[in-house]
């Protein structure tokens, strides 16, 4: 179930039109008609995309008003940002270990910086 949910989010975002819809909703809520305007597709097609985004929990629609504007569930994207940041930190972690390996290789061939530090102490 949880794995399904995660792949649902990714699958929802794998479509360029849906990513574009999400980008526009990030600016502000919009109705289906407003969202359909710039595309060369029917309102029904956009509705279908919105349903995919809704099912993935990325977008919600208010039930009461007749306009039923679509609203971006920003929390999910905060999560994506967190994931990218963690991915970056993992890479940084790996590269610091590589720094250490490179320093080891450097032994006997002092770097200018190392020499300067040595002289300063």
């Amino acid at each position: 179930m949880d794995d399904d949910r995660l792949s649902q989010v990714f699958s929802a975002l794998s479509d360029p039109t849906r990513r574009d819809i999400v980008a526009r909703l990030a600016v502000g809520d919009a109705t289906v008609n407003e969202l359909a305007e710039p595309y060369d597709v029917t309102v029904q097609a956009v509705s279908k995309h919105l349903r995919v985004l809704e099912d993935a929990g990325l977008v919600s629609r208010s039930r009461d008003a007749q306009r039923r504007p679509c609203h971006l569930e920003a929390d999910v994207f905060d999560l994506m940002t967190q994931w990218i940041e963690r991915y970056r930190r993992e890479a940084e972690d790996r590269f610091r270990r590589l720094d250490a390996v490179l320093e080891q290789l450097e032994e006997g061939v002092p770097h200018n910086r190392d020499r300067a530090e040595g002289a300063a102490s």
């Binding site: 794998s14 990218i84 770097h111």
Partner: protein
């Protein structure tokens, strides 16, 4: 820990919203020849490539044009994450092009291009990874590849529980 050094050598990640790519950029205080050696000598690779909390084991690592590799990351409980690929091109001190498959998802394959730019005794490393699809690329980022997959799911569970 020196913050100035950290800033200069900060790791940058770019994930293009319209292309299935991940680009990682980082600078090193060593000339390209040494960075290249740390990527092609298995005795050195094993010292840094694996996630810190896992043990890395190299089955095979023949970093030459046309050569291949296979390695594993091992959890303490015995869980294994295996990866393999071939070296499409290994150009000393400049460039390594290789395929990359996580054996847990055997149909997936990424093309990885590593370039080393000489900054006069220092090196700028750019690692570009092209995945099968944007969806797969996002999954790779979310899972941190072999890292913290469960943590990501736990976070998502929490989020979905709150949303529900």
């Amino acid at each position: 820990m020196s913050t100035t050094r950290t800033n200069r050598k900060e790791t940058r990640i770019e994930a293009d919203p319209t292309l299935p790519t991940i680009v990682i950029t980082r600078e090193f205080d060593a000339p390209p020849g040494r960075v290249f050696r740390a990527h092609t000598d298995p005795d050195l690779v094993v010292q840094w490539l694996g996630p810190r909390r896992l043990t890395m084991r190299i089955d095979q690592f023949d970093a030459r044009t046309g050569g291949s590799y296979r390695y594993l990351h091992l959890e303490e409980d015995g869980t294994e994450y295996a990866f393999h690929g071939v070296f499409h091109e290994v150009r000393p001190d400049e460039r390594i092009v290789q395929t990359f498959t996580f054996e847990g998802e055997p149909d997936g394959v990424a093309l990885e291009t590593l370039t080393l730019e000489d900054l006069g005794g220092r090196t700028r490393l750019v690692a570009k990874s092209v995945c099968d699809s944007i969806e797969q690329r996002d999954a790779v980022i979310a899972s941190g590849m072999e890292y913290g997959l469960r943590e990501a799911y736990d976070q998502l569970d929490e989020l979905l529980a709150d949303a529900g």
